[in-house]
């Protein structure tokens, strides 16, 4: 059977956690996946998985990366998954960490999106996917700058949806709740119950299904949907709950 040329996807932060699950899912569906990660050594290169090592919190490295990507074939899917958090009391975490966080979580995905679009490196019918957080609907004391970054990227995704539709690109934004990943483990209070968290593979399947159904707002799982609805209707209650459940139980700063 003569195969159509495979579709091409770009996934940032694909070495671990949700990014790894998203890349594996796409590869299993026959996509050619390019993974960008600072830990590119952790990626097992296969026929369909290629990696580029890049520290996405370094603007100079990002600029070089974009030049490299612009010289490649265009993409059918770009998933901005890479992100870091910083949990603890806002004033005790060194401010330098916040600069890196904001660069990685906000500025870099925005720049990559507009540069690839302007250079015609997003095919018509392509999907552009941003990863926000459930905290967009609930507030997140204990991760003030992280929640700022996730609100910024959510509203960026919402704002560019119509202008990008004109060049045939669909924009989606995902608001996942806590997942069973190393990163979530590191940033949660010590005795938090990890059993209720979603497996990254489950989340990846739900997310990709919604992306290809052209959904603009994606809340994977019933818990995420319920919590987001509560946050919209009763923001003061969720702010209070998040402070009690998370902020007052944080026993360490993690960044």
């Amino acid at each position: 059977m003569s195969a159509r040329p495979s579709k091409r996807a770009l996934v940032t932060g694909g070495a671990m956690g949700l990014g790894k699950a998203l890349s594996a899912n796409l590869a299993a569906q026959g996509w050619q996946v390019t993974i960008i990660d600072r830990d590119a050594t952790k990626i097992v290169e296969k026929d369909q998985l290629h990696s580029i090592k890049c520290d996405l919190s370094d603007p100079v490295a990002v600029d070089r990366l974009i030049e490299e990507l612009i010289n490649q074939d265009p993409f059918d899917s770009v998933i901005h998954n890479a992100a870091v958090s910083a949990t603890g009391r806002f004033e005790t975490i060194p401010v330098q960490k916040y600069h890196q966080l904001m660069q990685l979580n906000v500025t870099t995905p925005m720049i990559i999106s507009s540069r690839l679009a302007a250079a015609g490196r997003l095919n018509r019918g392509a999907h552009l996917v941003f990863l926000s957080s459930l905290s967009h609907f609930t507030g997140y004391p204990g991760a003030a700058v992280y929640s700022a970054s996730k609100d910024a990227i959510a509203v960026y995704a919402k704002s560019i949806r119509k202008p990008f539709a004109k060049i045939g690109v669909t924009v989606s934004c995902v608001f996942p709740g806590p997942m069973k990943t190393q990163q979530a483990e590191r940033h949660s209070p010590t005795n938090a119950d990890a059993e209720k968290r979603m497996q990254p593979e489950t989340a990846a399947a739900l997310i990709l299904k919604s992306v290809f159904a052209n959904r603009k707002t994606i809340l994977p799982g019933a818990n995420a949907k319920a919590f987001a609805a509560l946050g919209k209707v009763m923001p003061i209650v969720t702010d209070f709950a998040m402070r009690k459940i998370i902020y007052e139980k944080l026993d360490k700063d993690v960044y």
Partner: protein, 240 residues
């Protein structure tokens, strides 16, 4: 609190910031920051001895803490009662063609610089159990040709929302969202306005609403012409 306060206002060289400086510096000690001083502010400083200007470029957020703390030390301000983080920038245009520089600058000035300032000002505000007031924008809900600006203001709202809970009983945090205002921001951003500009609130009206909100315990308030005509500026007693 009665008596003069120590107040810091960023981006106070023109527009809403300047109107607010004009209101507050009549009764309080005000430190204004901005990229560079304007003739209007210079004229005001000559007349008011407790009004001061410090050049602070928010497009380089990493340098803010050092510049500001050494100036506060020189000025012998070891506490601040109110900080109004008002400085902002923005560029209008199709997001498909927005340049890397414009995106990076918008996020740096509107979001990262304010995070750096909050970090730096916390000990000064804590001493007075003071109040940190962010100036956001109604664009925070999304704006298609103002995408990175909208993103930066949404980020600022999320940041303020989290910080308000974290600093409960230490420092009060609020964010005020002006709507379209008759300032030179739209022209600087590259937008030509017609008749619609007449519907915009004046910077003085918005500054009036900001001052009243600073004296009240609301976390987030919208401040457009409609709010002004509806009497928002008549609520509250201003900042005593």
């Amino acid at each position: 609190m009665a008596g003069p306060r120590n107040i810091l206002i960023t981006g106070g060289t023109s527009g809403i910031g300047l109107a607010l400086v004009d209101r507050l510096s009549k009764r309080h000690r005000v430190l204004v920051t901005g990229r560079k001083i304007s003739p209007a502010l210079e004229a005001m400083i000559v007349q008011r001895p407790d009004l001061d200007f410090l050049a602070l470029d928010q497009s380089q957020p990493e340098k803010i803490t050092k510049t500001l703390t050494s100036y506060l030390e020189k000025k012998k301000w070891d506490q601040i009662h109110n900080a109004v983080l008002n400085a902002g920038t923005g560029f209008v245009g199709d997001p498909v063609h927005e340049t890397s520089d414009k995106i990076a600058q918008t996020i740096a000035v509107n979001l990262m610089a304010n995070i750096e300032l909050s970090h730096c000002l916390f000990p000064y505000l804590q001493k007075t159990k003071g109040k940190l007031t962010f100036v956001g924008s109604t664009a925070r809900k999304g704006a298609k040709n103002f995408s990175s600006y909208a993103a930066s203001k949404a980020g600022l709202h999320g940041f303020a929302r989290a910080l308000k809970e974290e600093w409960r009983n230490k420092v009060a945090v609020q964010i005020l969202h002006p709507g379209p205002t008759k300032t030179d921001m739209h022209e600087k951003a590259g937008l030509k306005l017609g008749m619609i500009r007449h519907l915009f609130a004046s910077p003085e009206a918005v500054a009036h609403m900001i001052e009243n909100s600073m004296g009240r315990n609301r976390f987030s308030t919208k401040m457009t012409s409609f709010q002004y005509w509806g009497g928002n500026h008549l609520l509250g007693r201003g900042l005593r």
